[in-house]
């Protein structure tokens, strides 16, 4: 793929040489001003700026990232207030239930932090991470070994619902737990 100036055969040959070397280039090397319709041009210039060759498309559909947008394997999700990452009194019972469930299982437990759709950029992923860390620490306090727990933030990427209601947004501010596979 080439962008080329009209010009002499020398120019074109040089361009195709460039193609073989790099796959694509803006052409250039016109020492004489290129012309259009017989009108002499002025102030033309050598130009060798790369623009773009043929880019690829990589399909990663086969790679799974731990699908599922709620807790699984007998664990229960823990919910958070807007912009907050502390575990409320009402959520402590869920953490206790999750710790009890952890005692009945073996292997690593994946703790996934999630946020509502209003945050963006890295900060929202860090907020999801703080929520996951809060649950991990609370689980550890109830006797779950730290080495069994892996935390990960999904930021706003993993909503359970998308309707514009407060109850929906509240359901997205959560930590999910599942066995790591």
């Amino acid at each position: 793929m080439v962008i080329r100036q009209k010009g002499s055969d020398v120019i074109k040959q040089t361009v195709w040489t460039a193609i073989t070397l790099t796959a694509f280039f803006f052409s250039g090397c016109g020492q004489t001003a290129p012309t259009l319709d017989g009108t002499k041009g002025k102030n033309n210039f050598t130009d060798a700026t790369e623009i773009s060759g043929d880019t690829v498309t990589v399909n990663e559909s086969g790679e799974g990232g731990g699908l599922g947008n709620s807790s699984a394997d007998g664990f229960r999700s823990v919910y958070f207030d807007f912009g907050d990452y502390s575990i409320s009194g009402t959520m402590q019972s869920k953490v206790s239930a999750d710790a009890a469930r952890a005692a009945q299982t073996s292997g690593k437990i994946k703790i996934e932090g999630n946020c509502d759709e209003f945050g963006t950029d890295e900060y929202n992923y860090a907020l999801g991470l703080k929520r996951a860390k809060a649950v991990k620490d609370a689980m550890a306090a109830e006797g779950v070994q730290n080495g069994r727990m892996v935390i990960i933030s999904y930021g706003e990427s993993n909503p359970v619902c998308s309707s514009p209601t407060d109850s929906c947004y509240a359901r997205n501010r959560r930590v999910d737990l599942r066995l790591a596979r």
Binding site: F45, V56, T57, V58, G65, L67, Y123, A126
Partner: protein
């Protein structure tokens, strides 16, 4: 209030389409390019006229320059361009551009305007030829990473499927970008060559890992990582693979950006109890607050010592929040508002720091916006309905 007088620096220019069949997309891109360059004042119209001759319609003789173009698409898009003096029709420049891929037509126009700008000896606008790389969500835990020209007229998927986030150009030539992959048990930072598809793993971390910035020479990167469950900023040498922890805070430290080559970074932290912008030297411990405005400043970009940040100006848990962009300096001084309506996020400087890219949400629609900081001219291009996750230019 600061009144900026810049009109006299711009050339009055008219655009004439000499194609047999006018192409609305080509016309719109020509006008957009001339406008956002900050160096031209057009009348916002593409005139129909003759391509080959030196004739300048009497009504356009008051301009300084005339751009004539002819667009055809015989075996791929082809654009012929001539630049004339409006007063006498004398030719200053002519060039023909061709591509084999019709989808890349916008790049022909961008290159033509880039050339016209250079011929007239205006400051370089190389950013107009660059790719924008961005990720967008397609479903829960699913995303795709795409390339676009700056107008988003051209888009192409580079990574489809899986959950891949935070693309960041790895080199000034835009051959590769970094991105965060969620394919494994913990997030992994990968690097992909967009021409060959070859991938390599750079680093991984429990919790999160993001490449926030790349040094000017491409030899070092700033990472947000959480190996112990706390998001902190690290600098990684790509030559040795060694990582240096830059921030140490039991809270949120993210989005590290190099302040030029000063050895300092700016970053977003909640160390005062809310998201705000701070700076520190990479090699020392002292942290200082940079922004003294707003109560939720959750994103920042830097070019040299100039910073642009987004500030959340409403705190509504039920949506409809207002975010605005502000331009300031990491060394103090005046702060200049760049937007006033809607939700404006993801600010990113152009490579020369003269343009700010951002994403605007207003009502149910989103757009990519550009602000020329010198001429204060701005452009908005509509985006599809899918939510943008991150963007780099």
């Amino acid at each position: 209030m600061k009144i900026e007088k810049d009109v006299e620096h711009r050339s009055r220019i008219a655009v004439i389409d000499g194609s047999d069949v006018m192409n609305g997309k080509v016309s719109r891109i020509f006008l957009s390019d001339l406008k956002i360059s900050g160096h031209f004042l057009s009348d916002g119209t593409v005139h129909k006229g003759d391509f080959s001759g030196s004739f300048v319609p009497p009504g356009l003789k008051g301009r300084e320059y005339i751009v004539k173009y002819r667009y055809t698409n015989p075996n791929g898009p082809k654009l012929e361009v001539r630049l004339l003096k409006a007063s006498d029709g004398s030719q200053l420049f002519e060039k023909s551009y061709a591509l084999s891929n019709a989808q890349k037509m916008p790049f022909l126009v961008h290159k033509a305007v880039y050339d016209i700008n250079r011929i007239l000896k205006y400051p370089d606008i190389g950013w107009i030829n660059r790719y924008v790389v961005f990720s967008r969500y397609t479903a829960p835990k699913r995303s795709e990473i795409l390339l676009a020209d700056y107008t988003f007229t051209y888009t192409k998927v580079i990574i489809r499927g899986g959950l891949n986030l935070f693309p960041k150009w790895a080199d000034s030539a835009q051959k590769s970008f970094y991105y965060t992959s969620y394919a494994g048990l913990v997030p992994t930072l990968n690097k992909i060559n967009i021409y060959t598809g070859s991938k390599s793993t750079v680093a991984s971390s429990e919790g999160m890992i993001v490449c926030s910035d790349v040094s000017d020479d491409g030899g070092k990167i700033l990472l947000t990582m959480a190996p112990e469950g706390q998001a902190d900023i690290y600098e990684m040498s790509l030559f040795t693979g060694s990582k240096t922890r830059v921030t140490h805070f039991n809270g949120v430290d993210v989005s590290g950006k190099y302040l030029g080559r000063s050895g300092q970074i700016v970053f977003v932290s909640n160390r005062l109890g809310y998201a705000n912008i701070f700076k520190k030297s990479i090699g020392s411990g002292a942290v200082s607050q940079v922004v003294f405005h707003g109560r939720n400043n959750n994103a920042v970009d830097a070019h040299g010592s100039t910073i642009v940040y987004s500030s959340r100006e409403s705190n509504n848990a039920f949506g409809g929040n207002r975010f605005n962009l502000y331009l300031s300096s990491a060394n103090g001084g005046t702060t200049r508002p760049l937007t006033t309506t809607g939700s404006n996020q993801f600010p990113r400087f152009s490579t020369d720091g003269k343009i700010v890219l951002y994403i605007k949400q207003r009502g149910g629609s989103s757009s990519v916006g550009y602000i020329n900081l010198e001429s204060s001219q701005s452009l908005l291009f509509p985006l599809g309905g899918r939510k943008i996750q991150s963007i780099d230019w």
